[in-house]
Amino acid sequence: MGLFHKTADALGDKLNEKLAWDLDEAAVMADDAVAFSLAGFRPEDAERGGYSNYSYWRATLRAFFRNKTAVFFLALMGVTLLFTFIQPLLPNQKDPLLVHYGEWGLPLNNVPPNDEFWFGTNSIGQDLWSRIWAGTRTSLFIGFSVAVVEAVVGILAGVLWGYVRKLDFFFTELYNVLDNIPQTLLLILISYIMKPGVDTIIFALSLTGWLGMARFIRNQIIIIRDRDYNLASRCLGVPTGRIIFRNLLPYLVSVITMRMALAIPNAIGSEVFVTYIGIGLPVSIPSLGNLIQTGRSLMQMAVLRYQLIFPVAVLAVITISFYIIGNSFADAADPKNHVN
């Protein structure tokens, strides 16, 4: 952050120097005859004055990094994500599916957290620590995939819906039909037709997830569609595709990132919900969804509550981080919040 200020100040100094041209202050001020002579006039220098050295992305980043809370959560999420991926590579990590047995050949089930099992074990003796990180990996994968599909399909459909007037009727009807099918019903249906797994969950969540995004983009596009700068592009014969990519979408960066950031924890949340109603991932594929589901069923027993608390804590960190980062970035990406 400090770096940005320094660059700005350095540039500012240079401009002022330039405006003072090549006059030497001491020489000018020493002699009244010189001081009170006409300096001459250079139109280019007059034209050059008055800039702010503004760059959209630099200002966006600067505004973002000014927000201490956002930076903290960005760091927290960065560390969490990084750890999720390097965790299996670290020494002394256990297999999340391996059932651990004690001296007597009995499974070490429901062991509370200790030196050996940092987060304890579950009811059949699997290591909860490694299951949580494996689960986080699965859930993040689901979340990202669903968010990407939602973004690609939602933005594409939303832009066409909003910008191409002829398609408005078609998309509006399509939206009304799809939006009226209860999502739960659809999920149940799909889980009966297809075999449960990560692909099925992604498919099921993506099937309707893009609708909200599309409608949102459509409304945004309609707001900016007929602004003067778009009329100008149309007068210049710019094809629709380029207007969409160069004129419309760049204006929506902040709102799109905001929704994307929310889509990830949303998808993870839906996965938890789907598991809760019993049609989610099998226990053989650990995910935050089935970990929380298992933990929830043991909630009544105080000694076993750790099995719920740890996965919920990880879910909370991810959800809150994405939410705060997305919000702050959306704010920062709004040029109204930049120094002009």
């Binding site: 503004y54 009329l231 100008a232 210049l236």
Partner: protein, 312 residues
């Protein structure tokens, strides 16, 4: 003699309506005028008078409900062929009112200025494109190094010049300038006005200059049309109009021009125009007639007779 000059643009009985079919609102009502090659035609009226709508109908942003617009004799209103479409895009360009809203904030000046080139010369080499942008920028008095900046960094006057550069790069013959200076500070207006007249001299451009302020239009226009609630009230050569304003609305507009001269201002009498003062009836409808060469006025037979007396 005006008749011998080439008519670049002919607007005939142009009607533009908005709203639904059941509740149409007529923004422009049977307006006719010609614009000769190389001249500046000023269109003056208050907000909501339909002047901007006419400009937008010419560049085909607003659909036409009736009448025709011809460019060099060819009809350009309504459906046109692809070839005509491309020709119009090249030849007719627009300068917008609000320099804050008419530039893409998220694109660099380089892209904004060369936007039109991408569509008419699809395979122009990068070096040539850069060169053209630099030329267009220096033509409007901006430094070529500005190409790498974003519109945010510029003042209103500079932004308006970027907008002009963007139109110029298409090498148009005709430019619709929709209140190009009313959103600018007075101190900056002169820059843009000078630039426009200089470009006209150098390139033989033809302008339709839309404004709400007669003093500005007088300075730049050869002929002026005065529009009120979608209808033309008076049309004449600039000096003719200022010397012999006939229609009461024109006289109201003239009387309202603020002068930077306290003594004259203190003696000024404001004329207030009331459209009901005409008392038109079906038996005595308003007509559109040429009272002296090139000087048209709208009025009933009785009014026209009075106007004729004023001209004597």
């Amino acid at each position: 003699m005006p008749e011998t000059r080439e008519k670049l643009l002919q607007v005939q009985d142009l009607t533009v309506t908005f709203g639904s079919r059941r509740h149409p609102f007529t923004a422009v009502d049977r307006v006719s005028f010609d614009i000769y090659k190389g001249e500046t035609f000023g269109l003056v009226g208050e907000s909501g008078s339909g002047k901007t709508t006419i400009g937008r109908a010419i560049i085909r942003v607003n659909p036409v409900a009736g009448g025709t617009i011809r460019y060099k004799g060819e009809v350009i209103s309504g459906r046109v062929s692809r070839a005509t479409d491309r020709r119009i895009i090249r030849n007719i360009q627009m300068v917008f009112q609000d320099p804050m809203a008419s530039l893409n904030e998220r694109a660099k000046v380089d892209y904004i200025v060369s936007e039109g080139l991408y569509s008419i010369h699809k395979h122009m080499p990068e070096a040539e494109r850069k060169e053209r942008v630099a030329k267009a920028l220096s033509d409007v008095g901006l430094l070529p190094e500005f190409a790498s900046r974003f519109p945010h960094e510029f003042s209103g006057g500079q932004r308006q010049r970027i907008g002009i550069a963007r139109a110029l790069i298409m090498e148009p013959e005709f430019i619709v300038a929709d209140e190009p200076i009313s959103a600018l500070d007075v101190s900056i207006r002169a820059q843009v006005l000078n630039l426009m007249s200089q470009l006209q001299k150098e390139r033989g451009l033809t302008y339709l200059f839309i404004a709400h302020d007669l003093s500005v239009v007088r300075f730049i226009s050869d002929r002026i049309g005065v529009i009120y609630r979608g209808q033309l009230m008076e049309l004449a050569e600039s000096e003719q109009l200022f010397a012999h304003p006939l229609h009461p609305y024109t006289r109201a507009l003239l009387s309202a021009i603020p002068m930077p001269d306290p003594i004259r201002e203190r003696e000024k009498k404001l004329i207030v125009y009331d459209p009901s003062q005409h008392g038109y009836t079906p038996a005595d409808p308003p007509l559109w007639e040429e009272l002296e060469p090139g000087h048209f006025v709208r009025g009933s037979q009785r009014e026209l007779d009075e106007y004729r007396k004023m001209l004597l």
